[in-house]
């Protein structure tokens, strides 16, 4: 299962920002209740985001790319995920989640998408899921255009996650099933 999904702006010189984050359920008895639980959740996600940003910047450097890539000129230009850098790393128990987690991430232009997975999760499927979420989020949140649309449209992000990652459950969807999902969502994804 996926514990959380994070959409962030890794920054470069600027500090990284979490643009949207969604956790899938809170493990009972895992810590303090009340507002501290919420605070803890937010801070855990920020730690994940920072680690993703750091790995992203290091990978961009080793690939010889500039750390803050330019946005394309036209917001509707299809974004190629062919060479999108990505990676996977582990976070130890206690730092920041009580148990070990594996983070799978993908970077597209000036944004990064990350899945926080339970250990022993199918990482190949996680990568596929991310590669499907990224262009659809970019499209429906108009993330490439000006304006901080994503912050004001959590319903669009939630709607996508409810189909492609319902309750944190990754789905083995072949291309035809994916087309069916796109039809249900009313999305026109370039193929």
């Amino acid at each position: 299962m996926v514990r959380a999904f994070v959409l962030l702006a890794p920054g470069g010189p600027a500090p990284c920002r979490v643009l949207y984050a969604r956790t899938f359920g809170t493990p009972p008895g895992a810590g303090p209740g009340g507002p501290r639980q919420r605070l803890r959740r937010k801070e855990q996600l920020l730690v994940v985001a920072r680690q993703v940003a750091s790995q992203c910047q290091l990978l961009q450097a080793s690939l010889g790319r500039p750390s803050s890539p330019q946005l394309p000129q036209l917001p509707d230009e299809p974004v190629s995920l062919q060479d999108a850098p990505g990676g996977v790393f582990q976070m130890s128990p206690g730092d920041p989640f009580p148990e070990r987690v594996t983070v799978v991430w993908l970077s597209v232009l000036a944004l990064a998408f990350a899945l926080v997975c339970e250990p022993q999760e199918n990482l190949s499927l996680a990568e596929i899921t991310l590669r499907r979420l990224a262009p659809r989020l970019l499209l429906s949140l108009r993330l490439l255009g000006p304006g901080a649309d994503v912050l004001l449209r959590p319903d669009a992000a939630d709607g996508l996650l409810d189909r492609l990652l319902p309750h944190g459950q990754m789905l083995f969807l072949n291309e035809r099933f994916l087309q069916a999902v796109d039809r249900e969502l009313g999305l026109k994804v370039s193929r």
Partner: protein, 765 residues
């Protein structure tokens, strides 16, 4: 209307934007919940209300309950809020409601499709939430959905309207990903233009199958089930009588295994759509993993699994795109092949010898491979095994993907170290950035068109690193660095020419990132080795340390960060006798004046170690001649660097080196008192040294002051030879008290000085 949507969106932003609690009016929160559950609310508004409520979790004012909700989509939405509360009771309640929904026939138009992910989330958050009876109900349904989904394509949703054609087309059969008509049951790799509800359930069921089996697939009740305190029915085993269905658990296992076997067959077909190829591989990995779980839960499946996977392995082992699937296959064999009496060595050999060398540059494979090693660390304890002998291959993953894998290697390294591998790994760690550069060249050389691979003129010198790759001068060095297996005897005499050649790549980001991981690993290396190393290994490492100290890859900051000096001191402390045993090597190293400049940290630590440990109390073989020889060597060096008029050729060095040399000479003199006059005279000249104009321009005032104070203290100590002897050669510190005495040496020096010069406190003139 749209203003409501806008308002809710802004509200969500203001609640989500801060990590500190935002208080929303209790009545308003109640309203949010009412709107969420009201059938009249448009979907977008419901989603936004749920998002706000989740964002605020845990929420005290929650009165939401899923009991009355019939709409499965809404139930899923409300569950997402309830499951975010972190309350075991809420999770259990959601679990009960969902199982109830799955048990009964759903109202018209509702689909169970939206309920299964909720269930998956429930069991992941709180595995004991369901009773035995409930898990049986679900297991039975899962088995049905996996095995009996329709094998005909669904119909397109009718576009509606009065004029739609009354005659519908005959439904077509489902196909495989390569276009062939399917001849067996429906799976996630089945293709159709439109899908039916039960086909969706097939996909959902498989997607959650692994976790379900892990949680509820075992033969016995897991301890967690009974501790939950739910109204669980006591365990009553259901015997399988002939003519009757298997019990639900066994039946699910049977259907699941068949499903996985079918996936294995489907996953090597050539897909019409390229993207389906990625899913095939993910399905394959999942299928093998589930087979492994099933075999653990019921060993009667092992034979079938092993024979199926042997065939699969021979089909995919030559295809690099299937490499990631080799890991779960190997894991299954590791877990069960003994039982199946099958020889799986060929599988492990291929995995460890070939795959890392080919695919080190694939970050996902690299990560999963290292995880595999960590999960099976017991394999590495056998020093002759293929696993342990392949450590050079494993380090390729780290050399190429340093930032992502360094923390994994910190966990893995201790398992690779033993007396047989220690020295080879020591060299490997120091050359790790070199390995990165060599791998880069290997990749680029492989990408060259064949015509260019012919290589340059073997008689001449290669112009570029790429040319050097095949050049006879360098080929064997490259081969050694890029070897797949441990080969201590094959080490070339020196890799110095190769390191120099690769110097042009020393600034590349990947190489620099790798270099940054080496200090951490070296520290760990010495810490682990110190625990098992015997005398001969320690001696070997000290000699290598001294040798390698100037044979490091020329990356800025790499030489400073690699702290060999303190580890040298640590090894000497572990085995003081080595100072006597390795006196030849140490004298040679300490006598070379250039070392004090180019390898200052190591030189200083070495000099300190000589002062500490060259004494009869540490090794009975220590003779007066030896002490004198060391004394004269170090005295010559100190003399050279403290000339009053330094020439251009005089090496400059940190003041600390001067202090340590002075202290060492004093210590040696305390043990062989004939030397005392020589030292005292030398120390008395230090005043002139620190005041000489040529020197004051090189060193700063505080440093010179420190040197002078030290020299004075040491001189004063030598005026009382027996005290000096005691202070500098205490009995070997075997108790904590004695160790503390050693550590308080500077304090002791200061005390003695004050005794001799009561008016100290004013600067000595």
């Amino acid at each position: 209307g749209p203003e409501a949507v806008d308002g809710l969106q802004r509200l969500h932003l203001s609640v989500a934007a801060t990590k500190y609690p935002r208080k929303l009016d209790g009545k308003f929160v109640e309203q949010l919940q009412t709107v969420l559950c009201s059938p009249k609310s448009p979907e977008q508004i419901q989603v936004l209300c749920a998002a706000i409520l989740r964002e605020m979790s845990p929420c005290n004012d929650l009165v939401l309950s899923c009991d009355e909700i019939q709409d499965t989509k809404l139930l899923s939405l409300v569950s997402s809020v309830l499951l975010a509360q972190g309350s075991r009771g809420e999770v259990a309640a959601v679990g009960q409601r969902v199982v109830q929904g799955l048990e009964r026939r759903l109202p018209e138009g509702q689909s169970a499709r939206f309920l299964l992910p909720v269930l998956a989330n429930v069991i992941s958050l709180s595995p004991g939430s369901l009773t035995e009876e409930q898990t049986n109900v679900v297991s039975k349904k899962l088995a049905d959905w996996l095995r009996y989904a329709s094998i005909q394509q669904g119909m397109a949703q009718p576009s509606g309207g009065f004029f739609s054609s009354p005659r519908t087309k005959q439904p077509a059969p489902i196909t495989e990903v390569d276009g062939a008509v399917a001849t067996d049951f429906f799976t996630v790799l089945s293709v159709a233009q439109h899908y039916t509800q039960d086909q969706w359930l097939n996909v959902q069921a498989f997607s959650m199958l692994r976790n379900w089996l892990l949680c509820y697939g075992g033969k016995e009740q897991s301890p967690m089930d009974s501790s939950e305190g739910n109204s669980g029915t006591p365990l009553v085993p259901v015997p399988a009588t002939p003519g009757r269905l298997l019990p639900p658990r066994e039946r699910l296992r049977d259907k699941a295994f068949a499903y996985c076997q079918r996936l294995v067959e489907q996953s090597t077909r050539r897909p019409l759509k390229k993207e389906d190829g990625d899913l095939q591989k993910a399905c394959l990995i999942e299928a093998v993993t589930i087979m492994d779980i099933i075999c653990k839960q019921d060993s009667s499946y092992v034979c079938r699994a092993v024979s199926c996977l042997k065939i699969l392995h021979s089909r995919i082992c030559g295809d690099a795109t299937y490499a990631r699937a080799l890991l779960p296959i190997a894991q299954l064999f590791l877990n069960h092949s003994k039982q199946a009496a099958v020889d799986s060595d060929a599988i492990y050999k291929h995995l460890f010898s070939d795959i890392p060398a080919l695919l080190f540059h694939n970050p996902s494979l690299a990560f999963e491979f290292v995880q595999f090693c960590k999960d099976n660390s017991q394999l590495f304890t056998d020093s002759s095994s293929i696993f342990r002998q392949s450590f050079p291959n494993l380090f390729k993953f780290l050399a190429w993907n340093s930032p992502a894998l360094i923390s994994e290697f910190v966990d893995l390294l201790p398992f690779l170290l033993d007396p047989g591998t220690a020295t080879e790994i020591f060299h490997l760690l120091l050359d790790l950035p070199c390995l990165t550069a060599a791998l880069d060249i290997q990749l680029r050389a492989a990408a060259l068109p064949v015509s260019e691979k012919a290589g340059a003129d073997p008689a001449g010198k290669p112009a570029t690193c790429l040319e050097a790759f095949h050049h006879p001068l360098y080929r064997s060095m490259f081969q050694y660095l890029l070897r797949s297996r441990a080969a201590p005897e094959d080490a070339p005499d020196s890799l110095v020419p190769l390191r120099q050649l690769l110097g042009s790549l020393a600034g590349s980001p990947r190489v620099v990132q790798c270099a940054e991981t080496v200090p951490v690993l070296l520290e760990l290396f010495f810490r682990v080795v110190a625990e098992f190393a015997d005398g001969s290994l320690i001696n070997q490492l000290v000699v290598l340390l001294l040798q390698r100290s100037d044979q490091l890859y020329d990356i800025p900051a790499f030489k400073e960060d690699v702290v060999l000096g303190s580890n040298l001191a640590m090894l000497c402390g572990l085995r003081p006798a080595l100072v006597v045993e390795l006196s030849t090597e140490i004298l040679e190293f300490s006598g070379a004046v250039s070392n004090i400049q180019s390898k200052e940290a190591i030189f200083t630590h070495m000099a300190w170690a000589v002062g500490e440990f060259l004494s009869v109390s540490h090794d009975k073989r220590c003779t007066v001649e030896q002490i004198t020889r060391f004394f004269e060597t170090l005295e010559a060096v100190l003399f050279e660097i403290t000339q009053l008029r330094p020439q251009a050729s005089t090496p400059s060095c940190a003041p600390r080196a001067i202090s340590v040399l002075m202290a060492t000479l004093t210590k040696l003199a305390a043990r062989s008192q004939d030397l005392i006059p020589r030292v005292s005279m030398f120390l008395s000249k230090m005043r002139t040294f620190v005041q000489s104009p040529a020197v004051t321009s090189v060193y700063c005032e505080e440093d010179l002051e420190e040197i002078l104070i030290r020299a004075t203290e040491l001189m004063n100590l030598l005026k009382m030879p027996s005290v000096a002897q005691f202070v500098f050669t205490p009995p070997v510190a075997s108790t904590r008290f004695q160790k503390e005495v050693n550590d308080s040496l500077p304090l002791a020096l200061r005390m003695v000085t004050q005794l001799l010069e009561p008016a100290a406190g004013s600067m000595p003139v």
